[in-house]
Symmetry: C2
């Protein structure tokens, strides 16, 4: 990350060096009224397509700001191929799960509900805002997708056959996640964390009937759902994903 | 954890099968007025000394509740020998750091302040309440200690020589934490995460002069301080600590 520039914004449009673009109302307001930016000031911008750039503020209108894209500073980096299937939690715990998972790195969020899920509501707008803010903050160049909520049966049914389902099963006493990941090193995964209160017997049956499932334990304490998500993602990145592999050119698009 | 009993409370006194104890005012209020418990109802209790027990409510007074300790359900389990040195963050982020780290497992919190730390305030009462609630909730039997805040120089100076300082250094581009931990497998560690904004040059100098320091990178995105703490603790438990080792008798006290 360019250490002299502290403002970093996501742009919906594809960026190209030399082009001028107008920022959205909300971003313009932020630059103008919150950060009190002036003409000629530099910021960092990135899209979800080509990477990160420096840009210069070239016009400040009443309701919008124009910037010119100066120089590419980072290619787009797509995190390892991990999805997260989770049940919505209370507001701040869901926010936390989304923010932290985005920082640690993943490709897709799949909210789901099971019999013990407290709420079926996920605000996609709120979640997407959290995701974008986390990516802006952590220096990422990839915006993870979030799907609308669907039932556990549907999510499991529709999971592609070549994607290993890492099931964080709080009833397991052995099969620690690190041992399982070290043995199998699954590169294309979906991590499933249950709701507070765990899964029902019939849900467990459904899960056990699934091919390509890897049930794992997260240790001998019962982690909260959002903690379990963060821990499982971290372990996967450490054992198989982004932190094991060096950043390579397959994952780089320049 | 005994799955039929959902209430689990920490007791300051050492527990013994057959003994009767009076619960504190706050816990008595919780059982009586929040959970509406009745005489003969069973709960789980644990101390920070011998482990976990079932207990029965034997008396409900106006301001207190007496319980009888019935049966030992779990020996005390002391998590792996890891400390966490962190700079206080905004309220909910500090709360989060403490709750999640406690769930994942550690022995001691050492709050510290550096030149870029936003606040030097840590409420030990509030932190300790968070810690106890997290241990009650996750089924643990060990209450991590939290020290009063002191300066980075003091904390580093007073760190025992045989404890490896894992320094989560956001300026590093190689030396991923998993590789470093796999090579060295340090069993007695203190993890240091910086404040938002990182350490100053003179602080880095101080750190680099320390013997037994292991600087590590947490990947190619800039994690927030509380995310860094959780990620580093998780990696250590997966590579060296509680999740690698089976629960052994050294760590068990029965």
């Amino acid at each position: 990350m360019n250490k002299n520039i502290s403002i970093r914004l996501f742009c919906e449009v594809t960026l190209r060096v030399g082009e001028k673009i107008s920022l959205q109302t909300e971003q313009s307001h932020y630059l103008k009224n919150v950060m009190r930016c002036k003409i000629n000031e530099k910021i960092l911008v990135f899209d979800n397509n080509t990477g990160e750039y420096t840009a210069e503020i070239v016009n400040i209108h009443k309701r919008s700001i124009d910037i010119e894209i100066l120089e590419k500073t980072k290619p787009r980096y797509v995190p390892g191929d991990v999805w997260l299937i989770f049940c919505p939690l209370k507001k701040t715990r869901s926010d936390f799960l989304i923010e932290k998972s985005t920082e640690i790195g993943l490709r897709k969020f799949l909210p789901t509900y099971s019999s013990k899920t407290q709420t079926k509501k996920v605000s996609l707008n709120r979640s997407r805002k959290n995701i974008v803010e986390a990516v802006e903050q952590c220096g990422g160049t990839f915006i993870p997708e979030i799907l609308p909520i669907s039932s556990l049966a549907e999510v499991i049914e529709e999971l592609p056959e070549d994607r290993i389902l890492i099931f964080c099963d709080e009833s397991l006493e052995s099969r620690n996640i690190n041992e399982c990941l070290l043995l199998d090193r699954p590169e294309k995964v979906a991590i499933l964390v249950g709701p507070e209160g765990g899964f029902s017997d019939s849900e467990r049956k459904l899960l056990r009937a699934k091919k390509n499932i890897l049930p794992v334990s997260l240790g001998n304490r019962m982690l909260r759902a959002e903690t379990a998500a963060v821990v499982a993602l971290t372990m996967w990145h450490g054992m198989v994903g982004d932190w094991l592999k060096k950043v390579d050119h397959q994952n780089h698009e320049s």
